[in-house]
């Protein structure tokens, strides 16, 4: 397990257009002791990262206590926030309890951000970034890419550069946090936008290189337009690594397979221990079923592993230097190592429909055009032989 994602509350002080979590029923929020128990139990599984998510996690009174508890075990902690509550004082407190990374959601320039997240939220998020950086906390910008803000992606990179934020995480819009699924029509791309946004994505990659800001792997970014245009579904042809390394837990304690497959719960941490649930037979069975046929594929950021300040990140940062190879080599190696292992443990897992979509010719020929010429030559030989034969008879 790499990271454990704890949704500590469903409450939120904003009502964003692309998220209806605050309107969902929250059951019973876990108590401080229960959450601490989950973090302590998960130590056996060796997570690198604990993500406090929500809702707005800062609405919990005991959040600072939880953060200091987790960082006491030398686990990297990460907080996902909309930034409205991170004042100077809060930033200082967060710094003192040893937080690793704070994700602040920014969707674009003020008007776009405010139209999606509510009036005045952009100013507060900007303020939050300043406060965090002033207190030497690593802040990252998280952006949900949708129809409203696809043109503003270069602006986000500029913003990151201006504030000297080191990491920007993009994630395409997904309807999993919407109860009213009809609403998603507003966010997905039309055909024109799909083609237009490709150019914007290239701009973003260029800017990331120039400003030395690390973002998601290039291949991930490039597949966003197709994904939101409704064409490409699966980013991972061989099954999703998130099933093996990220563990989402809802605020009422249910352990999920992943956020998308939220109808399948493995069990509740209120009843069982997380280490036994994580390796239980039921979990393994559901994982295997999900990899084989239960999942249409998504582009959630669980793929994208953000380890915070550490050797991984500095390596990534190096790879972003202009003039160097821009392939996300580090990510690729991680993925491939994971695939090999996954294939090893669960037999052959391939989804040929999306796997290896090559634009080269194929038709059982290994080398498109050269093979075709060979075929034509042999066909000509056969025909000529046949003509000679018939003429001989005559």
């Amino acid at each position: 397990m790499r990271e454990i994602i704890l949704s500590v509350t469903n409450r939120c002080n904003l009502r964003c257009a692309m998220c209806q979590i605050p309107e969902m029923e929250d059951g019973n929020e876990m108590s401080t002791a229960q959450l601490k128990g989950v973090i302590r139990d998960s130590l056996v599984l060796g997570p690198d990262n604990v993500v406090f998510s929500g809702g707005e996690p800062l609405l919990r009174d005991d959040i600072l206590e939880l953060i200091s508890f987790a960082s006491g075990y030398k686990i990297n902690t990460c907080l996902t926030s909309n930034g409205t509550l991170i004042t100077e004082g809060m930033a200082r407190k967060l710094s003192s309890c040893g937080i690793g990374v704070v994700n602040v959601s920014i969707e674009g320039p003020e008007e776009i951000h405010d139209s999606l997240r509510g009036k005045g939220s952009f100013k507060k998020a900007e303020e939050a970034l300043k406060n965090l950086l002033r207190n030497k906390i690593e802040a990252t910008i998280a952006t949900v890419v949708c129809r409203d803000n696809y043109q503003a992606l270069p602006f986000i990179m500029e913003l990151a550069h201006r504030f000297s934020v080191n990491t920007v995480k993009f994630q395409p819009f997904s309807d999993i946090f919407l109860m009213d699924k009809e609403r998603k029509r507003r966010f997905i791309f039309t055909e024109d936008i799909r083609l237009e946004s490709r150019k914007i994505i290239e701009q973003v990659i260029d800017l990331a290189c120039r400003y030395k800001v690390s973002t998601n792997p290039d291949s991930y970014l490039r597949s966003i337009p197709d994904y939101l245009g409704g064409y490409r579904q699966a980013y991972h042809p061989d099954g999703c690594p998130a099933l093996r390394y990220s563990c989402p837990i809802t605020c009422d304690g249910r352990v999920l397979l992943c956020w998308v497959l939220s109808d399948k719960s493995i069990g509740s941490v209120k009843q069982g221990r997380i280490y036994s649930l994580w390796n239980s037979a039921r979990h393994n069975r559901l994982r295997r079923a999900a990899i084989k046929n239960g999942c249409a594929g998504c582009l959630m950021s669980c793929y994208d592993y953000n380890p915070g300040q550490g050797k991984h990140r500095s390596l990534l940062h190096l790879a972003r230097k202009p003039g160097q190879l821009r392939k996300p080599g580090l990510y690729k190696n991680q993925y491939y190592r994971f695939y090999r292992w996954l294939r090893y443990i669960s037999g052959k897992l391939t989804n040929p429909v999306y796997y290896g979509l090559s634009i080269k010719g194929h038709g059982h020929l290994e080398d498109g055009e050269a093979g075709a010429i060979e075929e034509i030559n042999s066909a000509q030989e056969i025909l000529k032989d046949k003509i000679r034969e018939i003429r001989g008879h005559a």
Binding site: S358, G363, H364, E369, G371, A372, I376, A379, I390
Partner: protein
């Protein structure tokens, strides 16, 4: 006869080489042009009138498209479709221009706007090569239910009768045909359409199964709605037997492919081995100008020419996707199984010319050699 054999050899060869290089060496046989999505009926299996409302292909754009297709030098047909094409004011100008370019122009309509003899006569004289009126049942009840509009059956049958009547007066004119969509509602009446067609005097009757998951229909049809269940498939098989028996005597019923595949298609046992999509034979130009054959669009004719659209990276990706598609939909775009490999193409060519005299054989083979040389030139150009 010999010509047909050579033509088939050419198309098989073109498909084989196009597929192995993933380049459009074979020009599309059918170019469907959706003039607009406007329609006066509300058919249950079709959702196009709900999307791309108010978009239309401009007449000048259509002119340039037709001109380009006429320069290909292939036997491509233009199929004017929609929506309902006759809702456009300039439809006769469009047909006239396309016909003057020397193209085969076909048209698909629901027949509801052909209600007097004068308009039927105008259509007959317009230069169309084929007009297809959709007929979905042998009685008014079924047809009107499927089409979502009362009285549409009488209008369709009336239109067909008027067209046949007008065609008798002149030599030539368009082939008058009817297309039947096989679905749950009309599976019991499939055979009963034949006497009706005889009574009208149709020249061609085509059956094709309903499509549930067609990307360009934007999945507006709910899966399972028109789908045949087990009992219906039994009825379908029975009807296929009767239709096949009839077809042996009278060849005005046309099959696009082996009709027994329909039963497998509906029961979900149709495999890729028995059915091959042919991404090179069919393209569709939407009212917004986007070109696709199945699934994602290749490019827009408003920005580039049609042949450029067929050669974009998107086109190559889409064709690759079609090749890997596991849900055959039994429409017009398909390849013969013998186009699978060059050996099979040659063998089937030999077996079909077996019965001809030696001089004809040599002539056919020399023509085949010539077309091989032609394709070789094209492939070599690509290679370099």
């Amino acid at each position: 006869m010999l010509k047909a054999i050579i033509k088939e050899f050419n198309s098989n060869l073109g498909f084989r080489l196009s597929e192995s290089t993933n380049k459009p060496l074979l020009k599309p046989r059918w170019v469907y042009v959706s003039l607009s999505h406007k329609c006066n009926l509300n058919c249950q299996m079709c959702g196009v009138r709900k999307i791309l409302k108010g978009q239309e292909l401009d007449f000048n754009l259509l002119k340039s498209i037709f001109k380009e297709i006429s320069q290909w030098g292939s036997d491509s047909s233009i199929v004017l479709t929609g929506g309902e094409p006759f809702l456009r004011q300039d439809i006769f100008d469009i047909i006239g221009y396309a016909a003057s370019c020397g193209l085969n122009v076909e048209l698909v309509t629901n027949g509801s706007l052909i209600q007097d003899y004068a308009s039927a006569e105008r259509i007959i004289h317009s230069g169309l090569k084929n007009i297809a009126v959709s007929l979905d049942g042998a009685c008014a009840k079924t047809h009107d239910y499927i089409r979502g509009t009362a009285g549409s059956y009488d209008k369709a049958v009336g239109a067909l009768k008027l067209l046949c009547q007008a065609k008798k007066k002149i030599a030539g004119g368009p082939q008058i045909s009817s297309w039947v969509t096989i679905m749950k509602e009309n599976v019991r009446e499939l055979y009963d359409i034949i006497p009706l067609a005889e009574e009208i005097g149709l020249e061609c009757l085509v059956y094709h199964p309903v499509v549930v998951n067609q990307d360009d229909m934007q999945n507006t049809i709910k899966a399972g709605r028109f789908w045949l269940n087990k009992a219906d498939i039994g009825i379908l098989k029975h009807n296929i037997k009767r239709i096949v028996a009839y077809q042996k005597k009278n060849n005005f019923v046309h099959f696009l492919h082996d009709p027994y595949l329909w039963a497998d298609y509906f029961s979900g046992t149709l495999t890729k081995e028995r059915w091959r999509c042919n991404p090179f034979v069919f393209i569709d130009i939407g009212p917004d100008g986007y070109v696709r054959s199945c699934g994602p669009a290749f490019g827009n004719v408003k920005e580039m020419s049609l042949s450029e659209c067929l050669d974009t990276k998107e086109a190559q990706m889409a064709r690759e996707r079609m090749r890997l598609c596991r849900k055959p939909c039994l429409q017009t775009c398909w390849a013969k199984p013998e186009a699978d490999s060059m050996d099979n193409i040659i063998n089937s060519f030999f077996s079909s010319i077996e019965s001809f005299p030696a001089s004809d054989k040599i002539q056919a083979m020399e023509e085949a050699l010539a077309s091989l040389c032609e394709y070789k030139g094209m492939v070599q150009e690509l290679h370099s």
